[in-house]
Amino acid sequence: MDNLTRVTIDFDTSHLIFPTIIAIVLGLLGLAILVRDRAAILGSGRMWATTFRAMDKTRFFGALALTIVYFLLMVPVGNIWPNAGYGFLICSVPYVVALGLLFMHARTPAAIGAMLAVAVIAPPLIWWLFSEIFFLTLP
């Protein structure tokens, strides 16, 4: 009886033991969900179709695209002046403006003015606080 529960761990492959167990458990749970919710899973195509139809596509994908561009540009721009954090500073201002305009509903001069003020003041303030006062590395 005792021998049934005995295990020996080979140190060289010990990094695979736990991931294997977790993968098996995950697979079993996935299978259980597959069996229980098969109707919902088969209908998931419809769920996604409804989601995308109801979605505000301009704002959702616009926000995603702007964020990706923001992340992509930050490092190359920052590398022009190494270790100064200017990449963050220079990219954040247009990012905040663009995202703000995208999210805004009634683009009245007052609303745009308030947003522009925030976009011009906030990133430099944050940049100054983090890179000059706290000495943190920014892109």
Partner: protein, 501 residues
């Protein structure tokens, strides 16, 4: 430095004051949570040092949990998930023109709940830590296992909850099996081509900030940035005199709700909404007038708010005594400790008595600041609800980037992790997977692995998990009880749901 020295340090006090204010603002804006406030401010703690950094984060936590009551009462929209039950009676009161009265009742209930849980934290955490020092790998593994079952049991759908938790563990194992913890230094589970980036796995904090910050903004963008509230929506009624007499006969309710909140906080992995729902239910079932609940009964507001603030101290108990976060906000605090190179666990309190005292002081002061500020400035605080989202969200995203980038001294992949998990969190919500179990699994996964493998390496026997000690047996009893209990609850819910469905 002892407790007194902290109490007169202006920098320490200033951070608590600022943190509490900012927390209230985050909590008061629907869609933004205490967790988000802590996530956004994490990089600040880098340069503030541990004691001051924790003072900031803890006061954000206390303020954030409390701030949720403002829109809950004035608009009927919970500012944070934990203030859902506050809307049940707070909003009807506001509609009757008793907004200010409801707000003040809620504020005082919050402070009492916070103080009850602080007392529990102060006395209970060291005792539990003393006890937990004796734990071996086996008991530590079982505690994590227990945390995961409790958390899955309390999710909306148990099967999906457990799946989310295990998925979190799985993703946390990507990368190197860390040598510093006794691993063999080999890598695993890395998708081909990603070896360079994922050698150390996904960093915890960008994952957290992505799921709690970016996901929310994506969800709002998907809905087309629903128009926020205007100042007219939040006008407080004219004739809502508040007097302390409303608390007459409510002491039992206050203390019970604070106690329930604390207890729910101590259970690892259970969030704030469970605390307020349980204390609200308890108040309603023991009340002589249960029919008044849901129609503007002050006792309902008291129960809900004392309950969710009771969570704050309780959630720190497992964090500081076992190293296991009590909820998603305290999970972020682990990050703050990690940034300073401090391991939280059974030895934390005895080895860092200064930090421990400072944490207690910070939470105490933060509760008092919150009382004074909210009690006298509640009308002005209500205005933050009207800050336009087009200004708020770009700013939050910018702060998330700083948080992710600075956490590991400038790794751009961490910024991408933010986006990856922001989108992942959005997809999870669509698939009805649960974020809280996922996060707890992700945080505890690596520790679970070490404890599990080391247990087998040292004992060479699977039976050790049952036979190691009486503590192991007790933990198994708790695990079985939590699973059985939740199956019973979900069966009952299903049966009750049938006739109407």
């Amino acid at each position: 430095m002892d407790l007194l020295a902290h109490l007169i340090d202006p920098w320490f006090l200033g951070l608590i004051f600022g943190g509490t204010l900012m927390g209230i603002v985050f909590g008061a804006i629907p869609g933004m949570t205490a967790t988000m406030a802590v996530a956004v401010c994490l990089p600040l703690t880098f340069s503030l040092g541990l004691v001051n950094g924790l003072a900031l984060l803890l006061s954000l936590y206390v303020g954030g949990i409390t701030g949720g009551l403002v829109p809950a009462i004035l608009l009927g929209i919970p500012g944070t998930p934990s203030s859902i039950t506050t809307t049940f009676d707070g909003f009807p009161m506001a509609k009757r023109g008793e907004g200010e009265r409801a707000l003040k009742i809620a504020i005082i209930a919050s402070v009492v709940g916070g103080l009850v849980s602080l007392v529990a934290l102060y006395f209970f955490a060291p005792v539990l830590a003393q006890f937990a020092i004796k734990f071996s790998y086996v008991e530590k593994f079982l505690i994590i296992f227990f945390a995961l079952t409790v958390m899955a049991a309390l999710s909306k759908d148990m099967l999906l909850g457990i799946f989310s938790g295990v998925l979190g563990i799985f993703l946390s194992l990507i990368g190197t099996y860390d040598i510093t913890n006794g691993g063999n230094g080999h890598t695993r589970l890395i998708p081909p081509g990603m070896e360079y980036w994922l050698d150390g796995g996904f960093a915890l904090l960008p994952v957290l900030i992505g799921i709690f910050g970016v996901t929310v903004i994506l969800e709002e963008a998907e809905l087309g940035m629903p128009r926020g509230q205007s100042l007219k929506d939040i006008e407080v009624g004219p004739h809502s005199r508040f007097s302390f007499s409303v608390f007459r006969g409510q002491w039992v309710n206050l203390l019970r709700s604070g106690g329930i909140g604390t207890f729910v906080g101590i259970l690892p992995g259970v969030g704030g909404s469970a605390a307020s729902i349980l204390s609200y239910t308890a108040a309603k079932t023991t009340s002589r007038h249960p029919e008044r609940y849901g129609k503007g009964e002050p006792a309902g507001v008291i129960a809900s708010e004392a309950g969710n603030n009771g969570l704050t101290g309780g959630a720190l108990v497992p964090l500081l005594s076992l190293g296991i976060p009590g909820d998603s906000t305290t999970a972020l605090l682990i990050g703050a400790f990690a940034l300073q190179g401090i391991q939280v666990g059974p030895l934390f309190i005895s080895q860092n008595i200064d930090t421990w005292n400072a944490m207690i002081a910070a939470m105490l002061i933060s509760n008092l600041v919150m009382l004074v500020v909210m009690f006298f400035a509640i009308r002005w605080f209500a205005m933050v609800i009207a800050v336009p989202k087009q200004i708020l969200y770009p700013f939050i995203l910018m702060m998330c980037v700083i948080g992710a980038y600075t956490i590991n001294y400038g790794i751009i992949f961490d910024v991408w992790t933010l986006l990856i998990f922001g989108v992942f969190g959005w997809i999870m919500a669509k698939l009805r997977l649960e974020v809280a179990p996922f996060i707890i699994g992700f945080i505890l996964g690596p520790a679970a692995e070490i404890y599990f493998v080391k247990s087998l390496e040292s004992f060479g026997d699977l039976a050790i998990f049952f036979t190691k000690s009486w503590i192991a047996v007790v933990l198994w009893v708790l695990i079985v009880a939590s699973v059985a209990g939740s199956i019973a609850i979900s069966r009952r819910n299903a049966r009750m749901g049938e006739p109407s469905a």
